[in-house]
């Protein structure tokens, strides 16, 4: 386990993951301090550029957290989000940033433990990958 504490941005659907994060808090479950939760009206609102912008602004990883398959309030926003995450993973792999720096997670509003586990495991995975390589490149170029 690395001692690097990554910054992980979580785009959390208002109908499930955002509430699940709240539930995690009320249950007293902890997850890494570098996890920053941003509320979105649906995972389907998350444009590919949101993921790219987060990484470009220095995030080490980005997690999109939406409803369980079949449970999206808007029918298929979570599936659209998953397809977009896959597309961005391919692009990040192509440019050498690493496709696994973005990921999709599914949960329901009551699953605080699932949120805490997903955030912790993803954060650990990013910690093992190391910092976003653009930060080191920017230092080299400076």
């Amino acid at each position: 386990m690395s001692d690097f504490d990554p910054v992980v941005v979580v785009f959390a659907c208002d109908y499930c993951a955002y509430t699940a994060a709240d539930v995690a808090g009320r249950m007293g479950l902890s997850y890494p301090p570098g996890v920053r939760v941003l509320r979105v009206p649906c995972a389907g609102k998350v444009e590919p550029m949101y993921l790219m912008n987060a990484l470009q602004m220095g995030a080490d990883g980005v997690l999109v957290a939406g409803c369980q398959v079949g449970d999206c309030h808007f029918k298929s926003g979570n599936l659209r989000a998953a397809a977009r995450v896959k597309r961005v993973q391919e692009l990040l792999e192509e440019i050498g940033i690493g496709g696994q720096r973005v990921a999709m997670a599914h949960m329901s509003a009551g699953q605080g433990a699932v949120f805490a586990q997903a955030a912790t495991e993803f954060s650990q995975q990013i910690a093992e990958m190391g910092p976003n390589p653009i930060k080191q490149g920017a230092r080299r170029a400076a």
Partner: protein, 222 residues
């Protein structure tokens, strides 16, 4: 519409490796509709280029702009005042747009960021298929509205070849046999006599075989 797909990033990085500041130029027409080179795709590629080059320790300044239409000189003119500050223009338009910009700004490298692919229609969200080959002598009125030039792998004009099986083309089970589609549609229209009519050999001079083509409309010229 004209469809296109982004080039592989490795090819794109190679094409811009000697530049420090580029204009990434999208087009608001066909390539926007097929999600290859509109404003959003310009933003994605710009971000990918910035991050990829930062990772290499060699930052690339990328300005983003999307013209209403890259293949018309009046829109290309919009770049005139700012173009000098760039090492190159990287166009996400089809080949027509790239050539219009390259023709207007001859002292500047203008590079294609997409591969222009075909003239196609949208089958459903996210799926486009070739529908027209621009042969210059349309026969859709004789073939039930299904083009044997664009949709038959062999461009046959008088029925299917021996490779047609269960409505599919021998090149792939994913590809419909155009002549099966034509026959089905002619039956539906009650026009099967068109199927038995022998089509004369096509004069391909109206297509690309006659060399680069132009349309001149004196009544529209200013």
């Amino acid at each position: 519409m004209i469809t296109a797909q982004r080039k592989p990033m490795e090819e794109i990085f190679q094409s811009v490796e000697r530049f420090g500041k580029i204009l990434l130029l999208g087009c608001n027409e066909c390539v926007t509709v097929c999600h290859a080179g509109g404003r959003k795709e310009v933003a994605m590629l710009a971000s990918a280029l910035r991050m990829g080059r930062l990772k290499q320790g060699s930052p690339l300044a990328v300005d983003e702009l999307t013209l209403e239409r890259q293949c018309d000189p009046e829109y290309a003119e919009e770049l005139a005042l700012a173009i000098d500050k760039y090492d190159a223009v990287c166009s996400m338009a089809c080949g027509c747009g790239v050539q219009t910009i390259a023709g207007r700004y001859q002292g500047l490298p203008v590079l294609p960021m997409v591969n222009t692919t075909f003239m196609g229609a949208s089958e459903r969200q996210g799926v486009w298929a070739e529908r027209c080959a621009g042969c210059g002598d349309c026969v859709l009125g004789l073939t039930g509205g299904i083009c044997p030039v664009a949709r038959c792998s062999k461009r046959l004009f008088n029925g299917p070849c021996g490779g047609s099986s269960k409505g599919k083309c021998e090149i792939s089970p994913e590809v419909d046999c155009a002549w099966q589609l034509i026959w089905d549609r002619l039956k539906q229209l009650g026009q099967t006599e068109l199927y038995t009519r022998i089509m004369e050999p096509k004069d391909w001079r109206t297509a690309r075989d006659g060399g680069p083509r132009r349309i001149v409309r004196e009544d529209m010229a200013i």
